[in-house]
């Protein structure tokens, strides 16, 4: 049993990261009924922008750069955690403005549009940063490892798991406990009525999309030190994201969180027995669940099926 413990913990951490990655994706699917295939690219962009900001050559005027670099890494990292998602959200805004033309049409069009956007962003990343791998610097406080029983455990993984849980909690509060969340949900449920009540629905949708983009970027920054920063990381992220959504059921917040944990545990435990095939276990889990529960664990009927 004790041999399995590290795999179990690994799986849980991975599961929380999966849930974090899927969160922004899920918000846009659940509240706008749009599939954002560019989610992975925005995730990667977040990591690249953060790397550039915390790196030795920040893209700032000379004086500002000097002042910025004089700050301790911890401060810079904390600031980047806010600044980078804001920068990336501008790209998300652009995508949403293009996407407006596809609302009310077959959801396929939105999906294809964001596939094109993903391609463009990925090529941009390749143009700016090339194809080599980068490392995101993190403050020494969350770097390194510690002993846990007789196991060496990475501090960063604990930090990443904690942040993920925190962000998931915050998003839940925002959606379930604030009037903003209530309006957004109402807008998803019945856009006519919400518009009739004098609420600017297109601004609301823009806000949701921007928020989802910021979550993608945050996930990118958190995951980057574990997966490494490379052009392919976007695809590596978008696949677990959609998998978690389908497994949990489109439109269900807790479904996505539980599905994320389940997928993570599945990969972690499979890693104990057949590490080569651990990623495959995720897909097998998905196929097994969806064969018996067509809409995932907690899915509701949605327009996406039409």
């Amino acid at each position: 049993m004790f041999d399995l413990l590290p795999h179990l913990l690994n799986g849980l951490t991975l599961g929380l990261l999966f849930a974090l990655i899927a969160l922004g994706f899920m918000l846009i699917v659940g509240l706008m009924e749009q599939i954002n295939l560019a989610h992975g690219s925005l995730f990667a962009l977040g990591a690249y922008v953060a790397m550039q900001l915390t790196g030795p050559r920040p893209p700032l005027p000379a004086e500002l750069a000097k002042a910025w670099l004089a700050l301790p890494l911890g401060w810079r990292y904390a600031a980047t955690l806010v600044i980078a998602p804001v920068i990336v959200s501008l790209v998300g805004m652009l995508i949403e403005l293009c996407m407006r033309r596809t609302y009310g049409k077959d959801p396929l069009y939105g999906l294809l549009l964001t596939f094109g956007a993903a391609m463009v962003i990925e090529e941009m990343i390749r143009l700016v940063w090339g194809t080599r791998d980068y490392v995101l610097q993190v403050p020494s406080a969350i770097n390194g490892g510690f002993l846990f029983g007789d196991l060496i455990w990475s501090t960063y993984r604990f930090y990443a798991a904690g942040i993920s849980a925190g962000v998931i909690g915050l998003v839940w509060l925002l959606i379930e406990k604030t009037s903003f969340g209530a309006t957004v949900k109402a807008g998803a449920h019945d856009s006519e009525i919400v518009r009739a009540l004098g609420i600017n629905l297109s601004r609301l949708r823009l806000l949701v999309f921007v928020f989802g983009t910021m979550l993608a970027a945050i996930a990118g920054i958190i995951v980057a030190p574990i997966w490494g920063i490379r052009p392919h990381m976007g695809v590596d992220a978008v696949i677990p994201a959609f998998l978690v959504i389908v497994l949990g059921g489109v439109g269900s917040f807790w479904g996505a969180v539980v599905a994320g944990l389940l997928a993570g545990l599945c990969v972690g435990l499979a890693g104990a027995y057949a590490s080569e095939w651990s990623l495959l276990s995720m897909y097998i889990l998905l196929v097994a669940v969806v064969t018996f529960r067509a809409r995932g664990l907690w899915g509701k009927k949605s327009v996406l099926e039409a």
């Binding site: 599939i35 293009c98 033309r101 596809t102 049409k105 959801p107 396929l108 069009y109 999906l111 294809l112 549009l113 596939f115 094109g116 956007a117 391609m119 463009v120 990925e122 090529e123 941009m124 390749r126 143009l127 695809v235 696949i239 959609f242 998998l243 959504i245 389908v246 489109v250 080569e276 095939w277 990623l279 495959l280 897909y283 097998i284 998905l286 196929v287 969806v290 064969t291 067509a294 809409r295 996406l304 099926e305 039409a306």
Partner: protein, 347 residues
């Protein structure tokens, strides 16, 4: 495609005039392709991908089923061809049949799982299965060669009993692929315009209505997916011959996305030949723009976004709209001059 098949007498034909013209034009390609700075291998690639895209459009355009993991079947075909040649028997026809059969089998297996699904759930499941096959291809080092691919695939001679053609030369192989392409397009055209094809098109319009009419929608969806997978696998087998190897790359989510792009850019949703236009544009753009800049995907991506936004029916759709408008305009002009003649307007 539905509109076309109803109004045009070509639907009942085995070989249409469009088809003949296309084949004849394609037959002249090796004569001039090197003179415009391209090379015969590009022609081979365009033909193979066209066959693949036409097979894919059977699912997307005819049946309206969003399959986003189709690269898997193309790749399985390539591997099946290679494995058959290396492990079982080095006969071109048997190996090509193995490519189609292997991919078709995988297609049946997947279709059995997903054919009760609709819309985005269908799309997601095809992605999941695509990823499963891709992972299998990458991780099964001993069978597929992993990331390095399956090497040492040969262009087997096309043996017709009395005569046998050597296909190692690119031009000879081009003509072989063209012959296969001709047979393939005629067969796909017949299939789309057959009673079976009509039912599939009806399912695209409304699954509920088709099932109320007494059709077993599930079975039709399984069959069309498996057929499409088999033809994609056949094209994959040809691709393994062209490349002299099989790589897991074609099975990735990206490459599966490219065939969707090619099909839509060309206009697969409204025209039988749309996918061919898309493939031609995609592959020549890759080579021509790719020679000028190393970010050709950026420009193609932007073009794709523009097409989805402004011309979702693709290039074929834009052409047919332009033709229609033109003929309408000409008609109106003729109409007004007739009116003028009759009523002497303006005076």
């Amino acid at each position: 495609m539905i509109v076309e098949s109803k109004s045009s007498p070509d639907a009942a034909r085995l070989v249409t005039p469009t088809m003949l013209v296309l084949w004849l034009v394609l037959a002249t390609v090796p004569l001039w392709i090197t003179r415009i700075g391209l090379y015969p291998y590009l022609g081979i690639e365009i033909l193979i991908w066209s066959l693949y895209a036409l097979a894919f459009n059977l699912v997307l355009g005819t049946a309206g089923l969003p399959s986003f993991g189709h690269g898997a079947y193309f790749g399985i075909g390539a591997y099946a061809f290679g494995l058959c040649q290396l492990e079982i028997v080095a006969n071109l026809w048997i190996c090509l049949m193995a490519a189609a059969a292997g991919a078709g089998l995988a297609g049946v297996l997947v279709a059995l799982f997903i054919s009760h699904r609709r819309g985005i759930y269908y799309a997601f499941m095809t992605i999941a299965f695509g990823q499963i096959f891709w992972t299998l291809a990458i991780k099964s080092h001993r069978i597929t060669g992993g990331e390095d691919g399956l090497l040492k695939i040969k262009r087997l001679p096309a043996d017709f009993g009395l005569v046998s053609f050597d296909l190692t030369d690119n031009v000879a192989f081009y003509y072989f692929v063209l012959a296969v392409f001709a047979v393939g397009t005629a067969a796909l055209w017949r299939l789309v315009n057959s009673p079976y094809g009509r039912v599939v098109a009806a399912i695209r319009q409304s699954e509920v209505r088709a099932s109320h009419l007494g059709y077993n929608v599930w079975l039709y969806k399984v069959a069309v997916f498996a057929l499409s997978a088999a033809v994609s696998g056949f094209a994959g087998g040809l691709f393994a011959m062209a490349q002299l190897a099989a790589f897991p790359d074609v099975m990735s989510l990206h490459q599966s996305g490219y065939v969707v792009m090619m099909t839509l850019v060309g206009g697969g949703l409204v025209s039988f030949w749309g996918p061919v236009i898309g493939v031609f544009l995609f592959l020549t753009a890759r080579d021509v723009i790719g020679a000028l800049t190393n970010a050709w995907m950026l420009y193609f991506g932007l073009l794709f976004i523009a097409i989805v936004l402004f011309r979702p029916e693709g290039i074929a759709g834009a052409i047919s709209a332009a033709v229609q408008q033109h003929s309408l305009g000409a008609l109106r002009q003729r109409g007004t001059s007739a009116m003028r003649l009759l009523f002497g307007s303006g005076r």
